[in-house]
């Protein structure tokens, strides 16, 4: 069994964490400017998990979340997934739209469009960091949105990884606002072949 992700050294994981750190910092700044609130982020976690355990990171496979999904194109293709608990998605959209009280439990077309745009901006901010470190031109696809169970949404990326192995490399960051507000998880999941390309470009290829 020669699964690429299981052979990563401490140094390589640290390097990926640093890329994630700068990327998440950019993304947090962008998000903070959009909603005009202070956003805290945790130092990204880089972990290698069995595929089935990835949904537990966001509270279990039946947790209700909104997910914005983008593909990354360029020399190191991959996927980006921004997951928010449903309440956080409502808060984010309502803050952005200047709506004090939420009346319905759904997102209308305008709300969905706003969430997609937020996903787009975050992904762009994150990819800027990755491009900076790797000197690659990395471009995001048009974003797609889904509101559903975390397991169902994550299955989209896990299935892609499942074709290559049984583990996922997850670069994960958590965002929180000072008060009640937003909590979110940002996942960068390189396509299996891309990992080596990224590591070589940032100079930690074994």
């Amino acid at each position: 069994m020669s699964e690429e992700v299981l052979k990563l050294s401490e140094l390589q994981l640290d390097a990926l964490k640093e890329v994630g750190n700068v990327g998440a910092g950019n993304a947090a700044t962008a998000l903070s400017q959009i909603i005009n609130r202070k956003i805290d982020m945790t130092v990204p976690k880089v972990c290698i998990l069995p595929l089935g355990e990835v949904p537990d990171v966001v509270g279990g496979p039946d947790t209700m979340v909104a997910g914005v999904y983008l593909r990354v194109f360029g020399p190191a293709p991959g996927s980006i997934l921004f997951l928010l608990p449903r309440e956080s998605a409502f808060y984010l959209v309502d803050t952005l739209m200047g709506r004090p009280d939420r009346e319905s439990n759904t997102l209308d077309e305008m709300d969905q469009s706003a969430l997609l745009e937020i996903g787009n901006i975050l992904a762009g901010a994150y990819l800027n960091s990755l491009s900076y470190f790797t000197k690659f031109t990395l471009l995001p696809s048009i974003p797609a949105l889904a509101m559903d169970m975390a397991g169902a949404i994550l299955s989209v990326i896990l299935i892609q990884l499942g074709q290559m192995g049984d583990h996922a490399l997850v670069i994960e960051t958590e965002f929180t606002t000072e008060a009640d507000g937003v909590k979110g998880h940002f996942f960068l999941i390189p396509d299996p072949g891309s990992l080596g390309t990224i590591l070589a470009a940032i100079g930690v290829k074994v």
């Binding site: 069994m1 020669s2 699964e3 595929l51 089935g52 355990e53 949904p55 279990g60 496979p61 039946d62 209700m64 997910g67 999904y69 696809s141 048009i142 797609a144 949105l145 889904a146 509101m147 559903d148 169970m149 975390a150 397991g151 169902a152 949404i153 994550l154 299955s155 989209v156 896990l158 299935i159 892609q160 499942g162 074709q163 290559m164 192995g165 049984d166 299996p192």
Partner: protein, 161 residues
């Protein structure tokens, strides 16, 4: 309170009355419930991909439709189930995100459902009900007392197969 056995992604479990088998949050994955109504032995699989021969490497046969179903069936038969009585119900295989140009990888839900139907036929198992497709997630639960396969969704309601 009957035992509730959880089945994770790329996993399968076999159990018997009065337990229930449950798998949470299926998206493009497919849940396959096999049940023998006489011995009340059943199995629930949560497969991720259609075909093990198209994948690079795996230690886990439960990930694929073509490798998971034969071993789950084998386990049920070892437990005393009779093949001719076993019926199959399947659910899942959704496409969670819609892109303008849906590539093959985005249509994996559809391919999963199709692969499961083919493998069931190869194993000579009778499929009696299915709830597949759509763009939403499903939680599925097989009640081993009566063989009811319950499907829960966030806002598409609940149904029993």
């Amino acid at each position: 309170m009957a035992e509730l056995i959880k089945v994770g992604m790329a996993d399968y479990k076999v159990g018997s009355n009065p337990a229930s088998l449950i798998s949470y949050g299926l998206g493009s994955c497919v849940g396959i419930a096999l049940y023998d109504p006489v011995t009340k032995i059943g199995g629930l699989a949560h497969i991720m991909l259609p075909d093990s021969t198209q994948a690079r490497s795996s230690d886990n046969p439960a990930k694929f439709a073509d490798t998971c179903l034969p071993i789950m069936l084998e386990d049920m038969l070892k437990g005393g189930a009779a093949k001719k009585r076993i019926t199959a119900k399947i659910a899942g295989g959704a496409q969670m995100f819609t892109f303008a140009n849906a590539t093959d990888i985005m249509r994996v839900g559809e391919r999963n459902s199709e692969a499961v139907r083919v493998v069931l036929k190869q194993l000579d198992l009778r499929m009696v009900a299915e709830d597949t497709g759509g763009n939403y997630g499903r939680t599925v639960e097989l009640n081993l007392t009566n063989g009811i396969f319950r499907i829960k969704t966030i806002d598409k309601g609940e149904k029993e197969l």
